[in-house]
């Protein structure tokens, strides 16, 4: 298995993309600004250059490659596998009845006896990421790990794109299946956010829409806490993620992040389910705690990948971090990427993006789900 960073700048000082590799990749990952991705130049040239490769990618406000964060331009990573087969597919939402059935559709195409894992990229707006993962899991079973993320658009929340067969689409979910026994995978996800303030009850909600906490409009609470920054909703809402938990299983916490607000309904739309009757607490981030969260995720992922065998190192590391972390940490966002690199070791195959939702198995569980406000890592390596 190998990886090689591709330069898509098109500068005169760089080789054209088709001449940057002397071998044929099986997979090319590409992340970039929404406007850059929608221009299709990069994706088209990648498709022409590597017609046999699965080209997967999505929009984001900030890309990650190596140790670097970049708020403009596009990054790409070519990946070649020695023993692992790949199969990709995508579903457009208008083809599917809903998110859950979209997940099921993907699963039906990908399912196979030696299906090991699925990497998923979905649009970041108007999506119930939890439902997609549930639908997919229903078909492939919980033993198949699912990771990935939802496309981002920085603090704008205007448009997100996913490459569907190499073509940018604002209404698709794309999935890549990994097949074969040689692949080693490692997952890690952690937030590092701190809960604060009183515990509240979700007294009215529907799917991903939260109407009331403790019988009062949820948007009122956010506006109160945000003060002047309420004008920047929904982006500023990311400063206060919501930790939710089932009263019957109070130790299993989930973190939800805001995707949209409805001023009339005084409601907030989150990236995942907000079950009525559950408990909720506001969270706030301290940059150093978020960095510690990223370190935690990296430690989990490496441990998971190695599974006791220290000789295994990740060939490809996909870092998907929440846009909320980026907004809160500002210039210090680079600290969390550097912290991850420090733990995983310097390597060429590190790429990622700031997302509107992260997907990976829950810590200490094989079941996958949607996470918010986390640093989520998917590590890949092949063994002979």
């Amino acid at each position: 298995m190998w990886t090689q960073k591709l330069d898509l700048t098109g500068d005169a000082g760089h080789l054209p993309v088709e001449r940057q590799l002397n071998r044929s990749p099986d997979l090319v990952l590409v992340f970039g600004q929404t406007d850059g991705l929608s221009a299709q130049a990069a994706s088209r040239s990648l498709k022409t250059a590597y017609p046999d490769a699965h080209i997967m990618g999505c929009s984001t406000g900030t890309t990650i490659v190596g140790n670097q964060l970049c708020d403009d331009g596009m990054v790409a990573m070519a990946v070649g596998f020695d023993h692992t087969r790949l199969r990709s597919t995508s579903v457009r939402f208008d083809d599917a009845e809903d998110c859950r059935s979209a997940g099921r559709e993907l699963g039906k195409i990908l399912i196979d006896a030696d299906l090991r894992a699925i990497f998923l990229l979905g649009n970041g707006l108007n999506i119930n990421g939890s439902a997609v993962v549930h639908g997919l899991t229903e078909v492939v079973g919980p033993q198949v790990s699912i990771s990935g993320g939802l496309a981002g658009d920085g603090a704008r929340f205007a448009q997100t794109l996913v490459l569907d067969g190499g073509v940018p689409s604002s209404g698709a979910v794309t999935a890549l299946g990994f097949y074969g026994g040689a692949l080693r995978l490692g997952y890690g996800t952690a937030g590092g956010w701190d809960v604060f303030g009183p515990r509240r009850q979700i007294t009215r909600s529907e799917g991903t829409v939260l109407y009331e906490l403790d019988g009062k409009p949820a948007l009122d609470l956010y506006e109160t806490y945000l003060g002047d920054e309420a004008a920047d909703l929904p982006a500023s809402g990311l400063f206060y993620p919501l930790e939710i938990s089932d009263p019957a299983r109070p130790d299993e916490k989930l973190v939800r992040t805001i995707l949209a607000v409805d001023q009339e309904a005084r409601s907030l739309t989150f990236a995942g389910d907000i079950p009525q009757g559950w408990n909720a607490r506001l969270m706030q981030g301290d940059p150093s705690h978020l960095v510690a969260g990223a370190e935690d995720a990296a430690t989990q992922a490496l441990c998971d990948l190695q599974n006791g065998d220290d000789s295994i190192h990740p060939t490809l590391s996909v870092l998907i971090s929440c846009v909320g972390r980026r907004l809160l940490m500002g210039q210090r966002a680079g600290d969390e990427v550097r912290a991850v690199t420090r733990l995983l070791g310097e390597q060429d195959g590190q790429i990622g993006f700031y997302s509107y939702g992260e997907i990976s198995p829950y810590p200490n569980s094989i079941v996958s789900g949607l996470h918010n406000q986390t640093m989520t890592l998917t590590l890949l390596a092949e063994v002979a």
């Binding site: 604060f196 303030g197 009183p198 109160t224 806490y225 003060g227 920054e229 400063f239 206060y240 506001l282 706030q284 940059p287 809160l328 500002g330 210039q331 210090r332 680079g334 600290d335």
Partner: protein
Amino acid sequence: MDKPLHSLLAQQLGDASESGSLNLEQFLQAINEAYAETDRQRVRTSRANRLMAEEIELQTDSLRAALRTSDIHKIRFEAALDAMPQALSLFDSGECLVVCNKMFRQLYALPADFKPEGRRLTDILAHSLLGDGAGTMDAATRLQGQLAMMAHIGIPVSIAGKIEQTWPSGQVIRISRNPVDDGGFIDLTADITESHSASARIAHMAHYDTLTDLPNRTLFHERLAAAVNRCGRSRNRRFALLCMNLDRFKVVNDTLGYPVGDALLIQAAERLRSLLRVDDLVARLSGDEFSLLVTNVKRAGDVHRLADRIISRLSAPYHIKGHQVVVGVSIGIEFSDDATLSADDYLRNADLALSQAKAEGRGCACVFKDHMHETVDRRRQLELELRHALKRNEFVVWYQPQFCVKQGIISGFEALVRWQSPRRGLVSPLEFISLSEETGLIDELGAWVLRRACADAAAMPEHLSIAVNLSPVQFRSRGIIDTVKSILRETGLAPHRLELEITEGIMIADAQEALQILRALKALGVKISLDDFGTGYSSLNYIRTFPFDKIKIDQSFVRDLGHSDDSLAIIRAVSGICTSLGICSVAEGVETDDQFQILKTEKCDSLQGYLFGRPTPVEATRKFYEVALQNYG
């Protein structure tokens, strides 16, 4: 610089130096932006902390308010629990007491300084002072207490359970246990001693007569049915059924009042009880009606002897509230010899035998015979005809002359009722008087006879008197005085010409009341004569307490004259007493001249009998007071 660069500054410096030389503008912009970010972060954090503090303050306030409300609820809840008449105890899923009320501590006698909360039931019961007297209890009582405790602890929780137990203290306790949703249970313990004994009393009342505390008709019927059932299975289980009525009880009740009647029933019941074997059952069915079930009858003779003992014991005088009361008892007996009969059949047969005993003069026992059914039918038919007879005017009054020895003339007549039945011919009073007494017809019949006799006498010469018999039943009916008064007025008969004949039976029940009636009658101017003297008690006391005008010596003594010296002695004595007291003596049943001579010698004032004339219709009486004068003048 001594200290290493802040990581952010190092990053900013690195970013601004990418081209090889420091881009100062970019560097300063990054620093400036970092300060602004830090400021925003600080403002955000400070705002969040302030709001959070406010929210927590509000929540604390409302929590305190809720706690105050909860305290009030707790006080009310405890007051409600403590006001409960039952002991309540709530246990958690670990079977430890969560809450109990005052009655729980009280009923289980828990020491004042003992805190049952948090303890298991076994532990709590072990602390109860209920068993404190254990040292003084006998082994059985101690065991009873221990068993009750074990039963209490062992009530199942899964389903609602309920037990009743008696504690060594004698308290009857009901404990109900109900599961609670959280896996615990709640016990309600109630002292139901009172309601238990009330239930027992009610159950007793359902089966026992409240006056005599003898079994009642219901219980008797149950036992009889059981005996019939046993007898049906085994012929060896022969039983006898005795039905009893107290003779003259109604008289006692009517004359002495219900309190005396009730006391009499109680004493009679007591006497009956004393005569029974353990297995026998005596019941009061109603009024003066008692029944006796004698089981395991070996010989009929045993039952007859028992009946005799009952008659003898119950007929002995009773002393009640200053009165001496004498009643008899009539008994009907039926043996379980016919396996096809039901309990009701046996009762009916014994009742028929009782009727027969009464018909045979009371104070005796009769065994049921099949023909009694026919007797009853005949009696019922007779009663029916008797009622019609009054309406159809089938009764006639015949007159038997009375001879005045001193004057040698017929001085009057005794009126005697006869029934000229179109179906039966002339019927003797013996056949219908007692029946009309039992059926209540006697009042109407008696008044009719009196009116007829008075009317007939009014048409006779004035020196002739008319004697009319008053049945005891008729005498006791309160209207007798008014009846006599109005008949005298209607017929115009001079009161001194009317003689009312009574028997000593009227004196036995309540002599005082009888005397009052007699005095009232006498005050009307009529004469009172004591009939059938010499039979029954013939207490001389009667003669002393009331100034009778006449005493009629029973005809049995006259019949024996010439054969028995005793009869002569009695006649002589009575006649002597009458002479001394200025009472007119009358001898009845004079049939021969010898008898006439003796009675004349013994100074009987008046005589009556076939020798002087048989009873005749009124049309035929004329010859007595016209012709007979010459014969005996």
